[in-house]
Symmetry: C2
Subunit: 743 residues, 2 copies
């Protein structure tokens, strides 16, 4: 039951022994099967009708797999139903959506099979809705939150949108009247604002700036002053309205984020109170938790942590040193357990060949590797390597560089130990890139030169250039920016997920609607060179689409469809693509598809993404500068949605009894190996040095402040090694302070 | 001296009778001459060497005018120097910049003339710097503030920019290696990533998405997986970095705005204190201002206001009714005087033909016009008119509509009086559009059908369609948005000004660099049809630029240059334009011009503009919803920079002794004529109704709250007509409360 407290997940169960069922539901293998089933289910589109070349299978095979997946989803849902309270279960809309989705899919399969029995090929209507499983399973919490955010933003955005479309309508009426029926022609040929609906389309495209000077040129050539119409239109619709869209979305995002975080905090607090009520025992007339109970709890929650860790957590939590935890103290446990604490062990060499490792020559070697000049030298080698790559030096040098880099990696492993070495993402990246390059080089030497391996080798070579970014990272002024990007990346995956859902939805619709209408013949297919000019479709003869050689942008399999949709997302030249499909299919209704995609993906999702980056970046920027303006921002850290928790690890070798001062000194010397950690350490050191000065900045009440100071002292005197905790104690107290203020 | 307090302008003068000089400096005719000289000076570019067709003059004429303008600027500066304190004057950097600009221009003119004496045509170097006069004259306060904002944002943006450019450098190195030297070709022809600098340029253009699918297509056609390179690049550079640029700018904008507002407030307060110190007299041991002194002051500051107004202001200010103003009370005077109060007079008909105007039939007519159905009917007529225009109905109907609209205008003038009628922007717009349409129609009938007047008539016809926007305005949900846009518009002019400075600067450079390199021959110039294909430049033969018929986008006069720069601002297809000039001039260094323009205008100025809209819109949105979260936002209203002061006018007929309740009732009935004012009224009514409930939302201290309540009561009991003032009293007190809190 307790693990629900630490992992943020939430299930309602009556406190019977349905807990076992719940534990089974939550077990890692059930979750794994779930993810595999989901992946399989979504991957079906690769092998279904307009399949990726070489992956095509008969429809009954894919259908059997689909039914199996659906059956598993249903089983999983039933499993959940079993242990949750029945009334609550049906009140949760995600369950209802899941049931509807499953039965609709089954129905769809039955109809399709029945019609196939009569040799009628119908359309599988349920396919575009597949990605919505991703949103509605309990594991898709983040995605659901993002979707909720979108849903809540919709009403506000809707009125702006209607106004926006009406204003385009007014402008296209004006354009029709001013420019139409004068015998002017577009640059690409075709009538110029002769028809109201076409004018509307052209001006809508102009809002995305995709046809910017082109649509203006004929009028401009006739009379330079007519360009004013387009300039005014662009200023109003592009600059003002697009900013307003962003403003509306950003405004909503901020208030939604606040609500979500407050709700999540309240829920967590409620859960922890339940745990406390179950575990409490009376002591001196107060309700408290005893140490042995607590140890058992921690052991159950995190079975892999050592006794020492449990003790440490206890000491930190028991702020007033009375040997018991009261409710207030206990509420911190979840946050405390979420702080990633690495227990530092002696490394492999230290354990197995301590004599050699501790010898004087080895110590010199280690201090050389740790020295900042070691890093400078290898950084410059990377840059030299980049220049060699740029100027296409002979291959012989490549092997030289490879060996140098391999030596660097080995030295680092020797000095810092394998575990510490592997904690750094850059090191892992180095190993993969250089290892792969090494292996491929060897294969190449064995097999001789060949185009394909040559291309891959070049890519590997070039990936190594990415290590230059690592050098940027060590330059102070870029570190904030790069750290922010790193912090944003995991949360960005949520938005990538949301986009994936939309992409999948639109891609499957696109597959059904446009498959085969446009053909692409590979560049080597010389026999069909004439067909290349019309993309295998007579309607596209001489169109802009064919002239720009966009035949590759087709909906003939899901992967290509994704690329097309990405191009539509970037918006440039999308009218050419849209026009191509309009001609290929021969209907203007295709425009609806493209406009819907644009509205949903570009105007809504991308704006939410921008709002997210804006909020996170502003928060992060002021955070690293030491201005902790509002406790909301701190809580973003604590929440999953915003940033994920800030990774703080004490990953360096440090005797336990070393004093803080020396840590700081050492910190400045060992600059070369603490790229990522440096910021955090700096921050923590500031914390320790200026604890009292910082507190005055907070508007928290005195009770909290008192507790904070005590907590800080406790940690410091008891467990030097975990000195980083104050930072998070801060977070945690600040958060608590806020709850006090708001309640 | 006092007018300096109300008009926000600021000059330092010693308190001698140099005040007269200052008054002369500030007098309307001197200001007028100044603006005219400035306009003339900037307009010189129209007639100078690459002149607008038909406006060309000999260079000595323009030069004489230029020297005269410069002389006037110098005189003006000397004038200012005369009355300001000498040391302060030279510490102000705008004066130094002005002096440098003037002398550099004069020097430039001398050199040019001297060289012209030897028949050497040189380049006038000082011309691009002309718009900077606009920024550095004392009147350009807003512009200077925007420039200061940009300057302060630069260091932060600079590090992001460097990182961004470095990352593009890394990617172009990779692109060179992966795609280069493989014999692939671009869609438009030409080598594909063969050269490092070209690759860099292509990827830079890709960041602006201008060449999006095109640059990817050759690689994508060869191997679909290579598209991943471009997708990753776009995600990193376009979506992440562009958002970060916006975030950095937005973050800086907010903090700068805060500082600016606080400083302006402090300055105003200081000035008012000076005035108080000059006017104070001792009374009961306290330093106060007597009523007759105050009346004199108001009479001097606003000579056009009535005695009644002065009395009213006095009553409002004298919150504790003791017959004197102490310093605290006096500090409100500037804000109070800035509230636009219209004194309602009986209208023309009421004054001259009261019998007829008050007769029963006239009253019925007036109530008909005031009725909401009157508006509904005319709104639907506008829509019907739009449909008629859309479906090209015969001209006869047009005259019908025109007469109907003229009748509507006359009726409204009759009912509301001319003065009230003209206070509404929509009414003025109606009169202009319909009046012009009427006049042009008559001219057309007299002169017979002709193309030019036909086009103008069509434009007038179509401008009338814009009245549909007026209908949108009366729909509740669009009102907030449209009101915000209206509020933003005046402040947007500042940014338009900033853009104008950059445009002018770049346009003049463009004129010097590219004039004559690309020629455009009008569409009727059939004799030169062949030249049209290469824009009169052999280098452009068969280029993308000529093929897209962009010959009109040239730098042959300043107006065309502005259009080209606007196209570059919109960013789409800018690489085609840049490429055109590169080919036409035959040098790759032209790219520097285009990249500089993009960085300055798009990345910096446009982002600041977006930040501005974001901030104002979010503020405005929460303001109209009654959530007044921080007093900063209120102060934006009060400041010139943010929004301009919120126009609150009691522009409706209302007997003085009418009670508040009936005002509110009436307000709901007379819905048809208070489009713009409705929001404000609603807000004010809320203010009055829920004064006490709102105050609890403020965190101001009790002293302020007490004062507020008193002020509100005072206004209410004394002067019914000015009941709107509470709102602004609120603003003003809130602002004061904040000063208390911050000091």
């Amino acid at each position: 039951m307790d693990d629900a407290r630490n992992g943020h997940h939430m299930e309602f169960e009556p406190t019977v022994s349905a807990v076992n069922l719940y534990n089974w539901y939550k077990s890692w293998y059930m979750q794994w099967i779930m993810y595999c089933a989901l992946l399989l289910y979504l991957a079906l589109v690769l092998v279904e009708e307009p399949a990726v070349p070489g992956l095509h299978v008969q429809f009954y095979i894919s259908m059997v797999v689909e039914v199996l997946c659906l059956a598993f989803f249903l089983f999983r849902l039933g499993h959940e139903y079993w242990f949750s309270s029945k009334t609550r279960f049906w009140r949760d809309e995600k369950h209802i959506v899941l049931v509807v989705l499953i039965f609709a899919s089954v129905l769809d399969i039955c109809i399709y099979c029945a019609l196939a029995g009569f040799s009628i090929t119908s359309i599988r209507v349920s396919r575009p809705f597949r990605p919505f499983f991703l949103v509605n399973i309990p594991e898709g919490r983040q995605m659901r939150r993002a979707f909720r955010n979108i849903r809540r933003t919709l009403p506000e955005i809707f009125s702006v949108l209607v106004l926006f479309l009406l204003i385009i309508a007014v402008f296209s009426l004006m354009a029709c009247k001013i420019f139409g029926h004068r015998g002017w022609a577009k640059t690409s040929g075709g009538p110029y604002f002769d028809n109201y609906l076409d004018s509307y389309w052209d001006l809508y495209v102009l809002v995305t700036t995709a046809n910017n000077p082109d649509i203006m040129m004929p009028a401009y050539d006739q009379n330079p002053w007519l360009s004013l119409f387009f300039i005014i239109f662009i200023i109003i619709c592009v600059y003002i309205f697009m900013s307003i869209f962003l403003a509306v979305v950003y405004n909503n995002y901020r208030s939604n984020l606040k609500n979500e975080i407050q709700e999540a905090l309240r829920r967590k607090r409620k859960l922890l109170k339940t745990v406390f009520d179950l575990m409490k025992s009376k002591e001196n007339g107060k309700e408290v938790i005893r140490e042995q109970d607590f140890a058992k709890l921690i052991q159950l929650t995190l079975p892999r942590k050592s006794q020492q860790y449990t003790k440490m957590v206890w000491c930190v939590l028991d702020a007033d040193n009375n040997g018991y935890l009261d409710q207030k103290e206990f509420l911190n446990v979840a946050d405390l357990l979420n702080i990633p604490v690495t227990e530092v062990l002696p490394n492999l060499f230290e354990r197995h060949v301590p004599n050699i490792y501790q010898s004087s020559s080895s110590t010199i070697l280690k201090s050389v590797v740790k020295h900042k000049w070691f890093r400078y030298i290898f950084d410059s080698i990377i840059i030299i390597n980049a220049f060699f790559i740029l100027f296409d030096m002979p291959d012989g040098y490549e092997f030289g560089f490879l060996t140098v880099f391999i030596i660097e990696i080995l030295l680092k492993i020797y000095t810092f130990g394998f575990y510490m070495f592997s904690r750094k993402l850059w090191n892992v990246f180095d190993v993969i890139v250089i290892g792969l390059a090494f292996i491929i080089s060897i294969i190449e030497v064995i097999r001789g030169d060949e185009f394909d391996s040559r291309l891959i080798l070049d890519i590997m070579l070039v990936l190594r250039v990415l290590r230059i970014v690592k050098i940027f990272h060590s330059l102070g002024r870029f570190r904030t920016i790069l750290n922010t990007i790193m912090l944003i990346l995991p949360s960005m995956l949520t938005y990538a997920g949301v986009l994936f859902v939309f992409f999948y939805f639109f891609a499957v619709i696109g597959l059904e609607a446009f498959k085969g209408s446009i053909e692409f013949y590979g560049p080597d297919d010389n026999s069909l060179e004439i067909d290349q000019l019309n993309c295998g479709n007579i309607n596209l003869e001489n169109s802009e689409f064919a002239r720009q050689k966009y035949c590759g942008n087709n909906f003939n399999n899901i992967l290509r469809a994704f690329v097309v949709l990405f191009e539509l997302l970037v918006v440039n030249q999308w009218h050419v693509i849209a026009n191509g499909y309009e001609l290929a299919v021969g209907s203007r209704f295709t425009r609806i598809y493209f406009i819907c995609f644009h509205l949903l993906s570009v105007i809504i999702v991308l704006n939410i993404f921008t709002a997210f980056v804006l909020e996170v970046f502003i928060h992060e920027y002021s955070f690293t500068k030491g201005r902790l303006e509002s406790s909301l921002e701190v809580k973003i850290n604590e929440m999953g949605l915003g940033l994920g928790s800030r990774p703080i690890q004490n990953t360096r070798h440090k005797p336990d009894d070393q004093s803080r001062q020396s840590i700081i000194e050492d910190d400045q010397l060992a600059n070369d190996e603490i790229d990522a950690d440096h910021d955090n350490l700096q921050f923590v050191c500031n914390q320790l040095a200026g604890l009292s000065t910082r507190y005055t900045d907070y508007s928290a009440d005195t009770a909290v402040r008192f507790h904070l100071n005590k907590g800080a002292r406790n940690v410091h005197t008891m467990l030097e090694k975990l000195f980083i905790k104050e930072l998070d104690e801060n977070d945690l107290n600040d958060e608590r302070g806020n709850v006090f203020l708001s309640s």
